[in-house]
Subunit: 408 residues, 2 copies
């Protein structure tokens, strides 16, 4: 088993430990920044590492279209290509191809744009052509060419990418469909998982882990059944995906259904929650027993002028493009280890950069948001080790939280 | 006098030394990176400093429109606002307002786009409304409001910006006009210089230097006369601006006319060449006795996927967006101290980032180009101190040049 559980919280299902991969350990629970297109947008790998991140997430769909898996393989995979020598998890491309047909979850649940699973909206030029048992036919947004992605194809790309963790190819069940559709879709996802594992057993690179994806929509029975099927499949870990509900309370319930089936002898299967990264969701997710999370939110928000701050009453966010910050001499927050905070850059300056669309602003806020989440996850992790998770979590939720000095 | 000349080349007019400003010394000859809109696009001030740069250039025109001089003044000027504690030179805004009327020099001399003086093209929404003896009326590209910029107004903005060196407000004489227009325009620039100096004597911040701008088009007598007028005006330094000709040979001649009038007791007036930054122009400019240069070229090229390399046969450039680099495992160049070169990132990866418009690519190539020019200028400067400038310059021109290890 890839997960070493080193500590547990007594009051919740939270656990802390290490996820062992071919490129080193991921200290869990952990947030995983997106390197969708072989770069954490605006940052250097050395900086992402310095912020305390062990793993990044690359994307099969985008990378197979540009620059192509063959090219990346020539560089020894994504590690060599993008100069990141730590663990890499790759998404299977399922979310992206199905978003072209179904619309993204973000399009459906307007109030929670960060629920978009891997966050990168599919360019409008792309289009799904057909969904078959064999796989999905679609038009490339790069050059309009017709492409086909199947479970085996996705695994082959992820094999070329040489990621440490590959995700099985699934249908990301949308929110608006009925129970019957969800059931048929979830069953296909299970069949596709078998095919992924079959291909991987024969052709997959040594040391690459494969996670199965739990679907089942918001239905308790189906989520539970899906978790059992995935856990029994022989995969190395479990990712929870698809529609998790219309609001946060429902999402926590749905995640809970899946995790409930992953106890006992299955507990050492690492658990990844796909596309979730709101601060309150991370706290709750850790309590629910999730080990890793990925989300476009912190990096995308940063590029659009929003910074994460210890303010639960405003969704932990401050939108610096708003005019109220135009003249503010205040720094972003105290105690954060990012460049903007350690230099005490004013909100006025950051607001000006954000409103002007300056690269430096995008970079500074991306770094800040990732620094914020790294610190948050490190605090939650330490809370589990110290037997103080409820205290830490409550303190975070009450926003008495102030980040500590930079991690040594 | 602000310039301390510490060494001279025997064979040319080159000199090396220190330009003393209120925020420290600029080691000359030096290239000055643009921080047009209060940021060197994509980089942090600490990084620009670490590359070896002492001074950056901010822009009166852009900053008065956004975020406004009053706001910047509240932060103690541009230094506090953008967190740069070294010397800052500010352009007067003359180039930008006149570009709206005349078109940029870049529009006229298509073969040499880098000749655009301060490089930032004026947004098309802006428009010049009238040119009067009093100043220039124009429409803001930010909000469409009517604005007025005069010599006194430009100095007042630069006073609020608290730059170490302010440039006088001039008409940037375009290339396509006739001798009569150039003469009348140059004379007005001289009258405006008097008004700038008059305003500054009464209201300018202590320690701020003022450079006059030499105009006169490509006409030897007018360039020489303008240089004499500016040198005699009581300003602290001389900038050479306006149309410098249709091709490089003519530009070197025209610069030579101006410098010829700046010898003898005027030699300690620092000399700035506006908007010039091609590698061969920097080498020749140093030989002609120029102390400082600014240009959008290295940073703008970087954002558009072109890297500077020791290859005079291709204008010292490699366009990474071209398909020939798509699969190249080669690094950018040997011996450069930038992140991309020290990590040995492949041209294939940099090409992919550039073609994808990724922020990280813009940032990496911006840093590389500035590292390249910093090293070039440091080598030229050292050549002057060592009495080996001709050897260094010839070696550079023959591309036997390979950058040395990072500056300690």
């Amino acid at each position: 088993m890839a997960l070493i559980i080193e500590a547990r919280d007594g009051a919740t299902d939270a656990r802390a430990g290490r996820l062992r991969t071919a490129h080193g350990d991921v200290r869990t629970p952990a947030f995983v920044p997106l390197a969708t297109k072989a770069t954490v947008k605006g940052l250097l790998p050395t900086e992402v590492k310095a912020l305390g991140y062990d793993m990044v997430l690359g994307n099969t769909f985008h990378l197979m279209l540009n620059p192509g898996a063959e090219l990346i393989e020539r560089f020894g995979g994504l590690h060599g290509f993008m100069d990141w020598d730590g663990p890499i998890i790759t998404d299977s491309g399922g979310f992206q191809v199905f978003s072209m047909g179904h619309g993204t979850i973000a399009d459906e649940i307007k109030s929670r744009p960060s629920r978009a699973r891997h966050g990168e909206r599919v360019a409008r030029e792309g289009a799904i052509l057909s969904i078959e048992e064999q796989g999905v036919r679609f038009r490339s947004y790069m050059d309009g060419s017709e492409r086909f992605l199947s479970p085996e194809g996705s695994m082959a790309v992820q094999s070329s990418l040489r990621s440490d963790i590959a995700l099985s190819f699934d249908e990301c069940t949308p929110f608006h469909v009925d129970r019957d559709y969800t059931e048929r879709s979830t069953e296909r996802t299970h069949r596709w998982l078998e095919r992924c594992l079959g291909w991987h057993a024969e052709h997959g690179p040594a040391g690459q882990l494969v996670y199965g994806i739990v679907q089942g929509g918001v239905y308790e029975d189906m989520r539970r059944a899906s978790a059992r099927v995935v856990a029994a499949s022989g995969c190395d870990g479990v990712a929870i995906g698809g529609s998790l509900g219309a609001e946060k309370a429902q999402m926590y319930e749905v995640v809970g259904y899946a995790v409930a089936e992953l106890g006992g002898e299955r507990e050492r299967l690492p658990r990844h929650l796909l596309g979730i990264g709101d601060v309150d969701d991370l706290i709750r997710g850790v309590e629910l027993g999730i080990d890793t999370f990925d989300c476009a939110m912190p990096t995308r928000l940063g590029r659009h002028g929003t910074a994460l701050v210890p303010d639960p009453h405003n969704r932990w966010r401050v939108d610096l493009t708003k005019s109220e910050w135009r003249t503010s001499e205040e720094p972003l927050m105290e105690g954060c280890s990012c460049h903007a905070c350690t230099r005490g850059l004013s909100r006025a300056y950051l607001s000006y950069l954000a409103r002007s669309g300056e690269l430096t602003g995008m970079r500074l806020l991306t770094e800040h948001n990732l620094a914020f989440l790294a610190r948050l996850m490190a605090d939650l992790r330490q809370g589990i080790f110290d037997g103080r998770l409820p205290e830490v979590a409550n303190s975070l939720r009450r926003a008495e939280y102030r980040p500590k000095p930079p991690i040594r």
